[in-house]
């Protein structure tokens, strides 16, 4: 109130003074930058953690930088009771935070940006065993002890082939206490012969298991059922937040290779790439 009266007085006394009073305010908004409120799990490596060691953290930092914003994390357990759906409802939909850095492109629950990388589900097994694993229909697979992440397309693919009842389900995505690293340990120690899981979940840990190798699961309709194991991934915002989606799309469009380079540094293998493991992220 007081300011307004003063402004009016100043304006009355001279346009120049008014302009002077107005100009600094006009500059202030863009130079201060905004915040990018990122919904993030505080303890889910390799995706994200409070120390910022996950690839979603690096992506968030990079994207915010390009937007001229700073990152403001809103931490919440994405694997707890109610799972990811509850995480979205409580944090993104409620407005506590504005963006999730990693969700499959085209999902209808939120509004997804353009995709910034594509990855796949993979077989993980011991190199020395030389298993011929090119798809779920590979005959070798029927002789092996299979581990798989439950409630993923892999479970359905195994069901279709009558292989699910003898396979071992894991619930990395549903149990806050479990690290994705543990499934690699189970392959290493022989609890299972092959783990079938989403590559970005374990990519960062592969350098610690040099005797393990991965092979990509192909999308297939061999059984008649369309089985999709490759997914384009995006960021996601609230359904009505077209404005933020547009800003994020622009960053993705202009910086695709840079975003993928960040992912690669964390051991994420993108569709069509080899198994060369990069450990420069130092996880």
């Amino acid at each position: 109130m007081k300011y307004t009266t003063a402004a009016v007085l100043l304006c009355v006394t001279g346009v120049l003074v008014c302009t002077a009073a107005v100009l600094p305010a006009a500059h202030a908004a863009p130079s201060a930058g905004g915040t990018l409120k990122v919904c993030s799990d505080p303890d889910y490596l390799p995706y994200s953690n409070r120390a910022g060691k996950g690839f979603e953290n690096d992506i968030a930092q990079y994207v915010a930088g390009k937007l001229g914003d700073t990152v403001d994390y809103v931490w919440a357990d994405s694997r707890g009771h109610g799972g990811f759906d509850e995480f979205l409802a409580r944090n993104l939909d409620s407005g506590r935070c504005d963006v999730v850095m990693n969700m499959p492109y085209g999902g209808q629950e939120e509004l997804t940006t353009d995709s910034y990388y594509v990855s796949s589900y993979v077989f993980v097994s011991k190199k020395a065993k030389g298993y011929d694993l090119s798809s779920l229909s590979s005959p070798d697979l029927r002789k092996l002890k299979i581990g798989f992440e439950s409630d993923t397309p892999v479970e359905e693919g195994l069901q279709l082939r009558g292989m699910v009842t003898t396979a071992k389900p894991y619930d990395v995505g549903g149990d806050s206490g479990t690290s994705p690293r543990s499934v690699l340990e189970d392959v290493e120690n022989g609890t299972i012969d092959v783990m079938i899981t989403w590559q970005p979940a374990i990519g960062a840990y592969l350098k610690d298991f040099p005797d393990l190798t991965t092979a990509t699961l192909p999308n297939t309709r061999a059984t008649g059922s369309p089985e999709m194991y490759s997914f384009p991934m995006s960021m996601a915002v609230r359904k009505d937040d077209l404005a933020l989606k547009t800003r994020l799309d622009a960053v993705i469009k202009a910086n695709g290779p840079q975003l993928q380079a960040i992912l690669r540094k964390h051991g994420v293998q993108m569709a069509g790439e080899g198994t060369t493991i990069d450990d420069s992220a130092g996880l």
Binding site: D41, Y44, Y47, S78, R79, G83, F84, F87, M103, P104, G106, G107, Q108, E109, S115, V118, S120, S134, S137, S138, P139, E149, D151, T152, P153, E156, Q159, L160, R161, G162, V164, T165, V172, G173, G174, P180, T197, W198, P200, T216, L217, P218, N219, T220, R221, A222, T223, G224, S225, P226, E227, M228, S230, F231, P232, M233, A271, G272, E273, G274
Partner: protein, 598 residues
């Protein structure tokens, strides 16, 4: 008649033409001439019409029972072999499934490999290849063999030496794109498509220059008019007879979904030299779940006729708007002259995945007939002849979260890519069909923390959980009448060959290669090949003797759609008779089988 005497005459004629015409046109005319020589098989579908009919009649309905194996050759690959060999003069050319070995084999010294070629390719192509790493064959033209590798590399090889003349990449496995089709040579162009609609592939068809491989044009299946190479005022919608108008594809999609529009082009290509039109079909839209993509989703599931010189579309016809069942529209379009209502019209006949046999005037795309070619088809009651649209049965529309039971045909369709053949003597089409239905549950793209998920769960089974999974039929697409049918336990997935000798050849998924009497449908002869047959039979002569050849190699389909443990272990569905697994009858293989009379 000896093929030896015919060729020098053709050569002289061709040479004379060459003096006055450009090399490229010479190549095309010579190629078209050669395709009329029944002693050779110079195009993947035999000829531009794709009738797969041979005028050879040394083998007849009376003597075919004496057919025996003349020679065989392993292709060195165990994956699915969906194509057919070519025979040009004394040489047979064949391409295997991935890793896509190409062989030139001498007919004079059968099985003697003159040269072989295995392309360098992105070894992760198989990872993103959808339905087994098949290949549908090489093409020949201008003294070269054109071979697609799975990763989309198109290699032009010198037909005599196998040396690479040029090499281009037409697809990018990084984007989920692969290549399984056989190219088609039209004049100075090599036509190829792309596979991989299952995720995010924006489908297209490409023309490369035959001499240099340079890309001449590329037309997409969905999106803005310029990418489609549609002229909004001139390109005709065959269903309405009117121009498609501006943005006809864009208007049929929500937002940017057309970019993942699918509409891939991995089937068979045909050509009318008189009308100068290339015909091909497009596949399913990008997302399997129809709830995610309201609208007609043009031009997925469509047949498109294009001028091969410019790439511009003359007409288009969409068979299955807003597809909810994965009925890809890529099946072959066979050129014949059909008598309808007393008039003889140049037509295209197309046995679509959706179970209807479409007959179009091939100059305009006008729909002349569309009957079910399997009576069990129930997702639609018929095709409205005025609008060209299916009359969809609302109970069979797949919906997010809903398990819709008993949809016929299954996603594999009443016929998949396995090409049909035409019998000019009867005017009937001989078709390998699938007789399988499905329960279909469609899901949205979902996310379990750290794990993406999408699926359309499909349980497939022979109609009525019975014993007939496939039917080999003689069908009249004008009347919708089936003259005869051979019932098979599993889907009939091989191509068909018809001959003047009165015999039709096809193969079963269990590996039986059969000769069938064209008049009656009686099985006259059969031979159990090493592996199930999903390739296409062809025929040729050498030293005056007729041979019939087919690739045997069912590939990685041991559990094709009839997995008998589907949900029984988990939810205790009662077994209704044991549905035997294909793995009980056959195994992987990769062999070229060549048969002849004594």
């Amino acid at each position: 008649m000896s093929s030896q005497s015919l060729r020098p005459r053709l050569c002289m004629l061709a040479t004379a033409l060459a003096l006055t015409l450009s090399c490229a046109v010479f190549a095309d005319e010579q190629l078209e001439q050669l395709s009329h020589d029944p002693n050779q098989w110079v195009m993947p579908a035999g000829s531009y019409t794709a009738q797969r009919y041979s005028a050879l009649d040394q083998i007849t309905a009376d003597n075919v029972k004496n057919l025996h194996v003349a020679w065989t050759m392993s292709t060195g690959s165990l994956r699915g072999h969906e194509g057919q060999p070519l025979v040009v003069g004394d040489t047979l050319y064949v391409e295997s499934s991935y890793p896509n070995h190409v062989y030139a084999v001498s007919l004079k010294d059968p099985g003697r490999i003159l040269w072989s070629f295995t392309p360098e390719q992105n070894k992760f192509a198989p990872s993103v290849a959808c339905c087994d790493v098949v290949n549908r064959g090489v093409a020949y033209g201008d003294g070269m063999i054109f071979a697609n590798a799975l990763d989309g590399t198109l290699n032009a090889l010198d037909a005599k030496t196998g040396k690479v003349v040029w090499s281009v990449k037409n697809t990018d496995p990084m984007l989920g794109q692969t290549q399984t089709a056989a190219p088609l040579i039209i004049k100075d162009k090599v036509i190829t498509g792309v596979s991989g609609a299952e995720y995010g592939v924006h489908g297209y068809i490409t023309a490369n220059d035959i001499k240099t491989g340079k890309q001449l044009w590329r037309a997409y299946s969905t999106g803005p008019d310029d990418q489609l190479m549609f002229n909004p005022d001139k390109t005709i919608d065959g269903a309405t007879g009117k121009p498609v108008g501006k943005d006809s594809s864009l208007k049929s999609w929500q937002g940017d979904q057309w970019k993942l529009g699918g509409g891939t082009t991995w089937g068979w290509y045909t050509y009318d030299p008189k009308l100068n039109l290339l015909y091909y079909g497009t596949g399913n839209p990008g997302t399997w779940n129809p709830t995610q993509r309201p609208g007609d989703n043009k031009y997925s599931m469509s047949v498109i006729a294009r001028d091969p010189d410019t790439g511009v579309a003359k007409w288009v016809f969409q068979m299955t708007p807003h597809d909810g069942w994965d009925y890809d529209g890529v099946n072959e379009n066979i050129l014949t002259d059909t008598k309808i209502d007393g008039r003889t019209i140049p037509t295209l006949t197309h046995f679509d995945r959706n179970g209807f046999a479409y007959v179009w005037d091939r100059s305009s795309g006008k729909l002349l007939a569309a009957h079910k070619f399997d009576p069990i088809v129930n997702w639609a009651s018929g095709i409205d002849m005025k609008t060209g649209r299916p009359v969809v049965n609302p109970a069979m529309m797949t919906k997010e979260g809903l398990n819709v039971k008993g949809i016929c045909p299954s996603s594999q369709g009443s016929k998949d890519e396995q090409p049909a053949a035409y019998d000019p003597a009867s005017g009937l089409f001989i078709v390998s069909t699938n007789h399988v239905c499905m329960d279909y549950q469609a899901f949205d793209v979902k996310y379990k923390a750290g794990f993406p998920f999408v699926g359309a769960l499909v349980n497939m089974y022979p109609y009525n959980h019975g014993n007939v999974g496939g039917r080999f039929i003689a069908f009249d697409p004008v009347t919708g009448n089936t003259k005869w049918a051979v019932n098979d336990r599993f889907q009939d997935w091989s191509g068909v060959l018809t001959t003047k000798g009165g015999v039709a050849f096809y193969g079963t998924l269990t590996g039986w290669f059969r000769a069938v009497d064209l008049k009656t449908g009686k099985v006259l002869w059969q031979f159990k090949c090493p592996s199930g047959i999903i390739g296409n039979p062809m025929t040729y002569t050498h030293d005056g003797k007729q041979y019939v050849a087919v690739l045997s190699g069912v590939g990685g389909w041991a559990a094709i759609g009839l997995s008998n443990n589907l949900n029984k272990a988990t939810d205790g569905l009662g077994a209704v008779g044991a549905t035997a697994s294909l793995g009980d009858y056959t195994n992987l293989g990769g062999v070229l089988m060549v048969f002849a009379l004594d």
